[in-house]
Amino acid sequence: MKPVGLYGLMAEFENPGDLVAAARGARAAGYAKLDAYTPYPIEALTEALDIHDRKLPALVLGGGILGGLLGYALCYWTSVISYPLSIGGKPFHSAPAFIVPTFETTILVAAFAAVLGMLGLNGLPMPYHPVFNTPRFALASRDRFFLCIEARDPKFDREKTRAFLEGLRPSIVMDVEP
């Protein structure tokens, strides 16, 4: 995005209820490129902004399967193929014993998939973000609720959109520098 111009317009609300309402309104008004910022997860918002993304569970499942396969493969290859050793009269392929490491690797890889997946899909780490340019945005992690309509929204028009946001009875509407 270019340094000049505007990232978007941001409206600040006193309480979650207004934000949820505002979000509904904005979508109803046909705005697509908008996001809400809240100090804690609000389920109502997901539905209001109709966010549905099922990538993460798939990732975790994949991770789990991969981890399991790797774990068992490790046990099998080392104890049956690479250097078979007669240990305690047990067969080289001691499946029951191999279950434990397999289980652990399954969990491990799945967990990594969950965390890295979440961060990756959220595009984190991203220490710099335009929304931080608005001083009051610091309150987004405390007690204020923000709705931001981005400039790249086709329907975005500096004046009209500002007017629209004003109509949602926010405590204030601000420009967000890019």
């Binding site: 250097y83 078979p84 007669s86 780490p125 991203m126 220490p127 710099y128 931080f132 340019n133 001083p135 610091a138």
Partner: protein, 218 residues
């Protein structure tokens, strides 16, 4: 307010991935170093009191290994020849050469020549020359083309993985008994066939037995 500059986004992502690769690199380096001649002394020629040349004695003059290493067929240790053996010839030829003064000195003073050990296994490894020779493992297989080495140096890594390689695939290395002391031996037919045949002929024990710990560790 904005705490970080734009560029930090890129920096942070790069550093996250970088860290992972850096760690991997370190591990790889460590392993490489561990297998490198720096650790194994593979192919590193040592300074000896007498710059004895196998190339000359074996390659040029064609001495048999057993002329000096007399016990190789009956004992675990392929002995380093006594000074007497050197003097057998060198009391006649090169008997004035300054190179050989340490040998003559040893013979005079009755003090051993102080050789630096080249093939040096850890003390918890028990290697037996006689059995390998008896089973058709050529000197060359472990010691390399000694007949081309002016100064002897360690041919293999002497790491356990190297030992196992042969104990697991004997057929790849066996040669007829009469070829054991040959340098530059070329198999008459495909090595696999010969190897398989000799394996049964010489009653080579199965892999599981050859890779038992007590085969080498006691």
């Amino acid at each position: 307010m904005q705490v970080f500059h734009r560029s930090t986004n890129t920096i942070s992502r790069v550093s996250v991935f970088g860290a992972v690769f850096f760690l991997a690199l370190l591990l790889w380096l460590f392993d490489a170093l561990n297998r490198s001649p720096y650790t194994t002394l593979q192919g590193v020629a040592r300074v000896q009191p007498v710059q004895f040349s196998h190339k000359h004695h074996v390659g040029a003059m064609g001495l048999d290994c057993r002329y000096c290493h007399t016990t190789v067929e009956r004992a675990a240790f392929a002995n380093i020849p006594p000074t007497k053996t050197c003097m057998n010839c060198h009391s006649q030829i090169w008997d004035q050469s300054p190179e050989l003064e340490p040998v003559r000195a040893s013979f005079r003073t009755d003090r051993s020549i102080d050789w630096v050990k080249v093939y040096d296994l850890p003390d918890f490894v028990y290697f037996n020359h006689s059995i390998h020779v008896a089973k058709g493992v050529g000197c060359e297989t472990c010691h390399g083309r000694v007949d081309q080495m002016p100064l002897i140096s360690q041919h293999p890594t002497l790491q356990m993985s190297w030992c196992l390689e042969c104990h697991r695939n004997t057929e790849k290395y066996l040669r007829p008994r009469d070829q054991v002391f040959t340098m530059g031996y070329v198999p008459a037919a495909r090595q696999e066939e010969i190897g398989q045949r000799l394996k049964s002929e010489y009653h080579i024990r199965p892999v599981l037995e050859l890779t038992d710990c007590t085969t080498c560790h006691r």
